[in-house]
């Protein structure tokens, strides 16, 4: 009798917890339309094979490099662990998270995030952190990223954060309750549309050009982590024309790279070699690259990676070829779909782009 009671109580607890979990899954944003970047971080956990190269950083990596191009043209396996306005401590913890499952030969970090020394916005934090798998590393990433009015428990129980979405639920919330819609190509966010650079903004004068102590401390930690794991760390600056990249910042990164024996590649200074044409290779007037720009940068970067870090061409590996074949097909399919949409509407409506006549 007592056993039956205990069983009933346990069943009731399971039902309550189960239904609360379902409710939480339902109200959590699915990021399958409009702002899809919230799905970037979680997409890494679907990977089944390791990578030679891991990119980490913000939109300047996930919109500027194409892992599929690196694979198809150089046989390099790579993944981009980036998300919108990903702060350097988030990049550090994502790297730690990555190293828990694999050990890449090279880690490429985009240095724009050094400009931020403290948490910026809750919404961006969520885009990066919600997708991370629960671990001690995630807890530390949350603690490092929280704005003053944020609470740890809101990350651990996202229902507390997203409960108010009940009034804006759509069919997508039911459809993608557990599964995710494939949207990215090893962390690359594809855009085929074009919006050329019209003006190159001048940087505003800053009171202090030194990178913050916190940001630099995380760069140190990242360097140390790579060294500990025998991984080559490469620093890059993507060729976005804004946010403005100050010469004083450039100098600090160059000094840091030479002090720590790291390769640093500023793509802004290699326009001729990469072939980037700001009238055709960006989809948002120079902030991010489009597919054409990303492929050009990847084609340029591939030989550098191969030669500098002696990365093998793995295209002969049957297991990897089998994994990358559907990736390539999906890549080509999305490219064709976007081009068709562009043809039909003149802009990428499904990705929330504006018509060309709207500024």
């Amino acid at each position: 009798m007592k056993r039956l009671k205990v069983m009933k109580a346990l069943l009731a607890v399971c039902l309550v917890l189960g239904s609360l979990f379902l409710l939480q899954q339902l109200v959590m944003p699915k990021y399958v339309r409009g702002i899809v970047e919230g799905s970037l971080v979680a997409s890494y956990y679907e990977e089944t094979t390791p990578h030679d190269v891991i990119f980490i950083g913000d939109c300047e990596v996930y919109e500027c490099f194409s892992p599929v191009t690196l694979w198809n043209e150089h046989g390099i396996t790579s993944f981009i662990r980036g998300s919108a306005q990903q702060l350097i401590w988030q990049s550090y913890y994502l790297l730690e998270d990555t190293l828990a499952t694999e050990k890449p030969a090279v880690v490429i970090f985009n240095v724009l995030a050094l400009k931020y020394d403290e948490p910026q916005k809750e919404a961006y934090n969520r885009l990066t952190l919600d997708g991370m798998r629960l671990s001690r590393t995630k807890l530390e990433a949350i603690r490092a990223s929280m704005m003053p009015d944020e609470k740890l428990i809101d990350y651990l129980v996202p229902l507390f954060r997203y409960h108010a979405r009940w009034s804006e639920l759509t069919w997508d919330d039911v459809r993608y309750l557990f599964g995710k819609k494939p949207l990215f190509h090893n962390g690359y966010y594809m855009r085929v549309d074009v919006r050329p650079v019209t003006t190159v903004p001048e940087g505003k004068k800053l009171p202090d050009y030194s990178f913050g102590d916190n940001a630099m401390a995380y760069l140190d930690k990242m360097t140390a982590l790579c060294k500990e794991n025998d991984i080559e760390l490469m620093l890059i600056k993507a060729p976005s024309v804004y946010p403005y990249w100050y010469p004083e910042w450039e100098e600090q990164v160059e000094d840091y790279a030479s002090e720590h024996g790291l390769v640093y590649l500023n793509f802004l200074e290699h326009q001729d070699e990469t072939g980037i044409d700001y009238s055709t290779d960006t989809y948002d007037t120079g902030l991010h690259m489009n597919l054409s720009g990303a492929e050009k940068l990847s084609r340029y970067l591939g030989p550098i990676l191969r030669d500098t870090y002696v990365l093998p061409d793995r295209r002969d590996d049957p297991e990897l070829s089998e994994v990358w074949a559907p990736k390539t097909a999906f890549y080509e399919q999305m490219k064709a779909d976007q081009l068709a949409e562009l043809e039909q509407f003149g802009y990428l409506k499904s990705l929330g782009a504006r018509p060309p006549d709207q500024p």
């Binding site: 239904s19 409710l23 109200v27 944020e150 609470k151 229902l159 507390f160 409960h163 108010a164 009034s167």
Partner: protein, 530 residues
């Protein structure tokens, strides 16, 4: 720690577990520890004030009690030898000595409350006067942080002291037990203002875990959270939009703001009290009810018997009654009867006492003229209502409508509207603005604005209005079902699965529809500010 914060919820959950794990004789000590920890987390310096009140009240009450005991022993020992005059003189002497202690302790504690709460208000008024008389001199304000719950615990302590003085209750011999009575954390910040003889019956335990109490308590806590998070904190946005931009929202919006604020205050305050009573219930402690369906009141006196009952009875028992039978009032009564005649003369001291009590009630709520005017208006309405009582009686006898449903509904609506209108003084920043805004309801009502989309610009979406409507419907339904038994008692005979399903649905409603977390301002309970 706000009652609705995650940390508070964690705090009480941990306390509930430890409370029933420690040996029962230590339960009250654990509660004292928890109460002081709760207070310490608000601000360590607040502990000084609450400790001062506790120790001074303990010492005064203890001494008053000892004096009474000594007097009784003396009487018992010399029963046969004392003359009636000697006994009377002895009693007089005792009362005088007790009174001195009582007055000293009350001066200290009410003085502390006055300094902490009203100094800057007084300074602002002095500055206003200086400015009015053309002086350029302005007094600097003091940087005083009002200790959390000081109005509540001071009144509760002084109530206890007066009870000991009157011989209604015996003095507590253990300062730590008294400290728990003064600081019992669930009721520290917004009441109820408990009476010692009632609360002490269950406060010190021991308490065995009783699933009925625990389950009732948890249900009450959930119900409180529902009112606070789903209704009060949701409607808060619209109330703030209206009252913070009076130049934009006038006429019909003042009426909307008035009704919304009434709903907000009700859900906020009764929700907070539900949480307080629920926590106490889980701990096996009985805290008195503070509300009894106030919006079913048929007149303002009835309303004040149903709203914030513990405060109303405190003022009645410890201010109104003693004031009414005080020597100056008796003298005034005699003189007024002589000069104004029996009928009017006997009312003068009653009216004066009423006004004094309502002035005190007003200023207890806050150090501003808004609250003073609010209190005095309540007093005036009660006085007018008492003065018109014979007219009402004649009207009721003539038309026989008193028990008709429509007339009862009219009385309820009238009382609610009247109380809501007076509550406008809680809302606007000063008295003249409140009168001006109230006036716009009649001078420029513009009712059409409500139906031209402006109701959707108050910060609430259609979904918010839907949730509010459903929440109010649930509250009304539960209010109607209060009689003859509470909702919980009516649920009791149902199979356990149904009861738990009701609790579960309430939990889901709070989690899903509650206005909490990022994107919402964590609103403290309105009565925390008093």
């Amino acid at each position: 720690m706000l009652f609705t914060s995650y940390s508070f919820i964690a705090f009480i959950l941990v306390l509930f577990v430890i409370y029933y794990l420690v040996p029962r004789r230590f339960q009250w000590m654990l509660l004292l520890l928890a109460s002081y920890l709760f207070y310490f987390l608000a601000s360590p310096e607040y502990l000084i004030y609450i400790s001062l009140t506790t120790v001074s009240t303990f010492l005064a009450a203890f001494r008053i009690g000892r004096l009474a005991d000594a007097h009784q022993s003396h009487l018992a020992a010399h029963k046969s030898s004392l003359t009636r005059d000697e006994r009377k003189a002895g009693k007089e002497a005792l009362k005088q000595r007790q009174r001195r202690l009582l007055v000293a302790c009350m001066l200290l504690n009410f003085g502390l409350l006055a300094v902490m709460k009203y100094t800057n208000f007084a300074l602002a008024n002095v500055n206003g006067l200086l400015q009015a008389f053309g002086s350029e001199r302005q007094l600097a304000f003091l940087n005083i942080a009002l200790p959390m719950g000081i109005s509540f615990y001071t009144f509760q302590s002084m109530g206890y002291l007066l009870d000991v003085y009157r011989g209604k209750t015996s003095a507590q011999k253990n300062v730590f037990r008294l400290a728990l009575f003064v600081s019992f954390f669930p009721q520290l910040v917004q009441g109820p203002i408990s009476r010692y003889d009632e609360l002490a019956q269950t406060l010190y335990g021991p308490h065995k875990p009783d699933w009925t109490h625990i389950s009732y308590g948890l249900q009450r806590i959930l119900w409180g959270f529902f009112k606070k998070l789903v209704i009060a904190d949701r409607i808060l946005v619209a109330v703030n939009t209206i009252i913070r931009t009076p130049e934009e929202y006038q006429g019909v919006f003042v009426l909307v703001g008035m009704l919304f604020y009434t709903l907000q205050l009700y859900a906020d305050f009764t929700g907070g009290i539900d949480i307080t009573i629920g926590i106490a219930e889980v701990l096996g402690i009985r805290v008195q009810e503070n509300f009894n369906a106030p919006f079913l009141a048929r007149n303002i006196t009835d309303y004040w018997r149903r709203w914030h009952i513990s405060m109303g009875t405190w003022f009645r028992d410890y201010l109104f009654y003693p004031l009414s039978v005080s020597r100056p009032m008796l003298n005034l009564s005699r003189s007024a009867r002589r000069k104004l005649g029996e009928s009017l003369g006997k009312r003068v001291p009653v009216y004066l006492c009423t006004l004094i009590v309502w002035f005190a009630t007003g200023i207890w709520h806050g150090s501003s003229w808004n609250f003073i005017v609010w209190g005095l208006l309540n007093g005036v309405v009660i006085m007018v209502s008492q003065a018109c009582e014979p007219l009402y009686t004649r009207f009721h006898q003539r038309f026989q409508v008193k028990e008709r449903l429509a007339y009862r509904a009219f009385e309820i609506v009238r009382t609610t509207l009247l109380m809501s209108a007076i509550r406008l003084f809680d809302c606007y920043r000063d008295v003249p603005l409140t009168f001006r805004m109230f006036g716009t309801m009649f001078t420029t009502p513009n009712y059409g604005q409500l139906f031209h989309g402006q109701a959707m610009q108050l910060g609430l979406s259609g979904a918010d209005y839907l949730v509010l409507a459903a929440g109010v419907a649930i509250i009304v339904a539960s209010g109607i079902r209060r009689k003859p038994g509470s909702m919980r008692e009516r649920l009791e005979p149902l199979p356990a699965a149904w009861r738990y399903a009701a609790m579960y649905l309430l939990l889901i409603a709070i989690l899903l529809f509650g206005a909490y977390g990022v994107g919402y301002d964590a609103s403290q309970f309105i009565y925390n500010q008093f």
